[in-house]
Symmetry: C2
Subunit: 110 residues, 2 copies
DNA sequence: ATTAATACATAAGTGATTTATGTATTAGAA
DNA sequence: TTCTAATACATAAATCACTTATGTATTAAT
């Protein structure tokens, strides 16, 4: 598991990019996807995830579709056009940040 | 300037690595060094810097030497042996984190 | 002379995230 | 068949690194 401090500020970027790559996803699915992609090193907690999803929905960055799976509610999230732009921007912002950090820490990220 | 959210959690790593590379440094010098290395994209604020330096000193990760420059006090910080180990650990922790993020965000950091 | 830069310091406020808690369904193991 | 773990949502209090604001004082520049 990675230091929780370093994760701070990356949650929105992660959510947006995973949604961009996988289309419609529900909350729990996002946590599992991230867990898998990160080899169990990034565990998105529900307490962080759901408020963030709700916030992004309120900001029209995500839109939702609620589906009944048998008796269980499932809420699918997907990017709005605005959200697609933001996803792109957030990822390149992160890449830029890493480039800067490479210079400051004098390390090679390969 | 980079998103302040992404910077969160990187301050200690930055301070430790810069001190490792440059030996004895005083607070203001650290802010300038980081500003320079980051091409003005990371500005370490004093409100974040000094409390962190004091904390690391209290934890025996840094040691200090106070010098009078004319009439002005200058407090030089340097790594203790423990601090050198921590610096190394923090940097490789950061590199690992970036590798994980590359997988999650599916981007190449080169 | 006045402003900007140098150089330290601390305290209140912010806000994303953690931790804790709650509800309910479904699958699997003993 | 009953209990546990996994699935699936949600919210609220607490934390803590960091921002913002403020303070003091020296030195250099215009």
């Amino acid at each position: 598991m990675h230091s929780p401090e370093l994760l701070k500020g990356t949650l929105q970027t992660i959510i947006l990019k995973v949604l961009k790559d996988h289309g419609k996803m529900y909350g729990y699915e996002i946590t599992q996807r991230v867990k898998e992609l990160s080899c169990d090193r990034i565990l998105v907690t529900e307490g962080a995830l759901y408020p963030t999803l709700h916030k992004l929905e309120a900001e029209k960055i995500l839109k939702t579709e609620t589906v009944m799976m048998g008796r269980r509610v499932r809420k699918y999230y997907s990017l709005t056009p605005e959200g697609k732009n933001l996803a792109k921007a957030r990822v390149s912002e992160f890449v830029d940040f890493i480039k800067t950090m490479s210079n400051v820490l004098q390390v090679q990220m390969t």
